[in-house]
Point group: C2
Chain length 275, copies 2
């Protein structure tokens, strides 16, 4: 989804020359070729990066280290390397493992865009338009490489922002990783209840929107849990305490405490979006 949408967006803006798809899954690479998303493909990573100006690693977080290791020896000196992972600390660590230290041309990135579906078939060039892309350049990062990655994402219509690695992972744990845990845990919790068929039959209007993110790719989210474990655990504990507080307020029939929580939440949500 992410790699294909980036390729389509750059092609549409004529911001790219040849696009080479690389990976292990020949079937999906062939589909990408048939769809005109890529110009050619290779299932051999070391040779695929030959002659590349820019390598974008767009695989689930658990596979990033393996990709880095596979291309470490053949990545051209001047080639810019970036990724699209939803957690950045683990990607930087993987780069250190593969390259000895973070390459000067390595610019960690994270487009905050996505839908619950995966695969090149559902990719589309507008995915990043008006979305934010966070780059987390390191002290070692070359200014020119940083600029080239920024320009690439700007060409897709995204707003590009810089942030520290640690701070990125904290903020995304709260705003993205935690909500996914809640949606997965809720749907699974209901699915394991005795009267599950009936429960889902009467799922009310808001339920559909609320649980949409539980349709996201399990492997991708498993990898995010592992990659951003520390920060995710922190926000999960924080949230559990807050949910306990609400449960106690309901138990104690503490109307004022309940209303405080609901009012603050509604105000914060209303200030965020005009639906």
């Amino acid at each position: 989804l992410i790699g294909g949408s980036l390729a389509r967006a750059l092609r549409q803006r004529a911001a790219v020359g040849e696009i080479v798809g690389a990976g292990r899954g020949e079937a999906s690479l062939r589909r990408a070729l048939d769809l005109g998303v890529i110009d050619r493909f290779s299932t051999d990573l070391p040779s695929a990066v030959n002659g590349a100006d820019m390598v974008v690693v767009a695989v689930p977080l658990g596979g990033v280290g393996e990709v880095f290791a596979a291309i470490a020896d053949t990545l051209p000196e001047e080639c810019v390397l970036t990724d699209v992972g939803s957690a950045k600390g683990s990607v930087v660590a993987a780069a250190v493992r593969a390259f000895g230290r973070p390459p000067a041309n390595f610019v960690p990135g994270h487009p905050i865009a996505g839908i619950e579906k995966s695969g090149v078939e559902v990719s589309f060039p507008e995915l990043f338009r008006h979305r934010r892309v966070i780059l987390t350049p390191l002290l070692e990062t070359d200014a020119g490489a940083h600029r080239r990655v920024r320009h690439m994402w700007q060409a897709t219509g995204a707003e590009v922002i810089d942030m520290g690695v640690e701070h990125h992972d904290e903020v995304l744990a709260a705003t993205s990783h935690l909500p996914h845990m809640l949606a997965y845990a809720l749907v699974d919790s209901l699915a394991r209840m005795d009267d599950r068929a009936e429960i889902f039959r009467y799922a009310a209007g808001g339920f559909r929107d609320f649980t949409r993110i539980a349709s996201s790719d399990p492997q991708m989210w498993h990898d995010i849990c592992v990659a951003n474990r520390k920060h995710l655990l922190e926000v999960m504990e924080h949230f559990s305490r807050d949910l306990d507080r609400l449960r106690l307020a309901v138990e104690d029939r503490d109307g004022e405490a309940i209303m405080d929580i609901f009012r603050r939440a509604k105000q914060a949500r209303d200030n965020l979006y005009l639906d």
Copy 2:
């Protein structure tokens, strides 16, 4: 929203004669009149039900008892009484308090439809189309009254289903009341974090849908918490245990347990809806 949308739907289908709005808030009754949603209004409940064939109580759950008490003496013998509350046990209890025992013409009801906005201004006649309305008739309920309420909701395009009071409250606690608690608790939890401005700025795509229900009316949801307290507490405890289990799986780096939860949830969600 609910009362106004019902009035609009019945009018559109020519399934209603005169529509009388009744309540304490003269301003909103006047708006309903100006919008053509009602034919006249009254702020005096006892006299408002004079000559009525059907009375639909569409107020937050905390106000239902007061409305029942106000109309108990003047409700015409043959008039059918129904309500739209999201929890049914407390409404039945309120009817017993006001009338001594559940009136034979009383048919508790719950349209499973709604948006996070409230008020007659946002009401629309299609709100109930293809939605479910659950009726929870009692042993005492007259078959003719039951039929009239069913026909009324069918005229709005809804599918009408019967269910026991207790079972309704259990199922709705899981599918509607619990998700609202999670959305409110999450948004409030994030809103009280130190870097709240930044956190919300980077809220990812799914966050908007996930938190939409946190924009719902706080008073209405406070009342639902109180009215369905017992069942809500049960599902909150159940969910908290399941969330703890997921947190422990992340803590223990138990990839299999994480994947099990995510896969089951995705499958259940995908089977429910084709987004």
